[in-house]
Symmetry: C2
């Protein structure tokens, strides 16, 4: 029986080999401890992709087109927890996905949370990425990647805060930095390509996104939203619109405010009755190192406003936990397993991680 020591015990006290055999007949089971490990194989029950929401437009003769849908990748691990996580990027799904072995194999949130047995959905919103078959001709001409985008991404205080970059000098990372070790510069090259042309120039972009994700949750069931940066604001709109948003974990998002309680400089306002819906769900905001003080104050004001109205919002400033050197893309950085631990603890405290 020495092999039992190698694989440990499942939650049911059965050796994993028996449970794998059960899984092949269509049942799920609690994973062995080794399968939950950082380098254990991913054991996936099903995966794939689908379009969600979207319109069908028809002319007078009945000729039609399907457009303005979103696109979701799904991965459902064997032995999954009940509530899925929907990962909603700001610039590209690459912020959630792992690196290939030839680039060091650094693991990102899709796989970290899959290994922790969460069903994971990664989405492109309408008119973005794999969902760029829109009903409108986006003005990509004036919204195209411009020279200088690299420097603004790398160094901007309101961008990714990786370091300083003043051409013709090279990019210089902050010290300390949690950006993964990158001796050849290949990972920085990847990071600067982790971007799509933006879809936000049309006035209906944010309501369209909130409506689309609400429809997605009608299909996949009540879920936790992970939002980031530019997806923060439409994420709050979705939580207001859909009772199927059970929680929002947001990484350095933008905010919205109830009428009459808007901090100076903030422009996104909703009726108090809408804002109060955000007080019904657990919210966690995660902020990295070197976040501008004024922005940190706004984050604190948002959490205070939610809680003042009876909510359950929590602000995590990573340096307060002894985590230094994180940029705006902390879900892609060296210590992202520890960042994920912070999130996992929050989900556990709020009873959202049940099998």
């Amino acid at each position: 029986m020495s092999h039992r020591k190698l694989v440990g015990r499942s939650a049911y006290g059965l050796p994993a080999v028996i449970l794998l055999a059960v899984a092949t007949s269509g049942h799920t089971f609690a994973a062995s401890s080794q399968q939950q490990g950082q380098n254990a194989p991913l054991v996936i029950e099903s995966e794939g992709s689908f379009a969600f929401a979207g319109k069908v437009e028809t002319d007078a003769t009945g000729q039609s087109r399907h457009c303005d849908h979103g696109y979701a990748d799904f991965s459902l691990p064997v032995g999954a927890r009940k509530v899925p996580i929907v990962m909603w990027h700001s610039t590209s799904v690459k912020t959630w996905t792992s690196d290939p072995p030839f680039l060091g194999g650094h693991q990102n949130f899709q796989d970290i949370f899959l290994r922790r047995k969460w069903p994971v959905y990664i989405i492109d919103l309408p008119r973005q990425g794999r969902a760029n078959y829109g009903c409108f001709a986006l003005d990509y001409v004036s919204n195209w990647p411009q020279v200088g985008r690299d420097q603004r991404t790398f160094a901007g205080a309101v961008a990714w805060r990786l370091g300083t970059w003043v051409p013709p000098g090279p990019p210089t990372f902050f010290n300390p930095s949690q950006f993964p070790d990158d001796p050849t510069g290949a990972l920085l090259d990847q990071t600067l390509r982790a971007r799509y042309p933006d879809n936000e120039q049309l006035p209906d972009a944010f309501p369209l996104e909130a409506d689309s994700v609400s429809k997605l949750l009608e299909q996949i069931g009540a879920s936790i939203l992970f939002t980031h940066s530019g997806s923060g604001y439409p994420g709050w709109l979705t939580a207001i619109k859909s009772p199927k948003v059970l929680s929002v974990v947001s990484f350095e998002p933008g905010y919205l405010w109830p009428e009459g309680e808007v901090p100076p400089g903030q422009t996104r306002v909703v009726p108090l009755a809408d804002f109060l819906k955000l007080t019904k769900i657990p919210i966690e905001i995660i902020i990295g190192d070197r976040y501008p003080a004024a922005s940190l104050a706004i984050a604190k004001a948002f959490v205070d406003t939610v809680n003042k109205h009876g909510g359950n919002a929590k602000l995590i400033y990573l340096p307060d936990l002894g985590m230094f050197g994180n940029s705006h893309i902390m879900m892609m950085e060296k210590n992202n397993v520890q960042v994920a631990d912070v999130v996992s603890q929050f989900l556990n405290e709020n009873g959202l991680d049940k099998h």
Copy 2:
């Protein structure tokens, strides 16, 4: 020892439980027979995504942008075969990926070949899908989804040949049809959304694609290309350009021809010396049911031309194998496991499926 009977034996005669433990220390192993089954869990060593190829454009001051890269999803199964498969779509990666459980869970080629232990890469080419951060402002305005696209996709003889659709009447599938059972119409809705705005209107599109995939193969190693329809032609260009294309399996592609041997109506021509590179690799062309006779004659002419010059090209017309009712998207249809069997046999016959 009864559990050993449940899991079968690996190729090394060890129970799978031992091999799983080995895998956690970083080694790979041959899968147990049950893991290769159609409904067994996918056991993935690593997965994720990355940008490939691409340009960096810099102005006189040193300000820069990264653009015109491709985007690849990778999935490396535990116990993988040596040579990866690169799946290169024509309209959307959805043609390769499986459906979610709430849409019936139909499995497509990504998972069928992963379960058969192939490393699988699925790519978006520059200026498409998740790689639409191009160096040029694509003219999406004139290349936008037009009303009537649905009918042309569904019914066109040079499109997907799913059936007939004359508005205001409903779409009617051919009989027989291999399109998956779709009582609610949800799968047809998915299929009509499996499309991006095209990237082919700029004159450098095809050479750019061939160059990009050649660079991808420099990173991931010599590979088999699966191409489909519109990706057929740039796929041949890639096989001419890169010695790392070990084989091409192409589903109803377009073709190119050596100078002086161009059939009437065909326009894509390369020097004979280039064309001869296609004679150095095994090629399989797969054609579905109801393919127009003139198009089938062109496919046969291509295979004959390759073979006349000493090549190893094979034409599979699925009805000749007793497989009726397949459309242009046979990799997504009910009998796609049988279509995959045809491909697997070809790869085996050519010694490409070694572990």
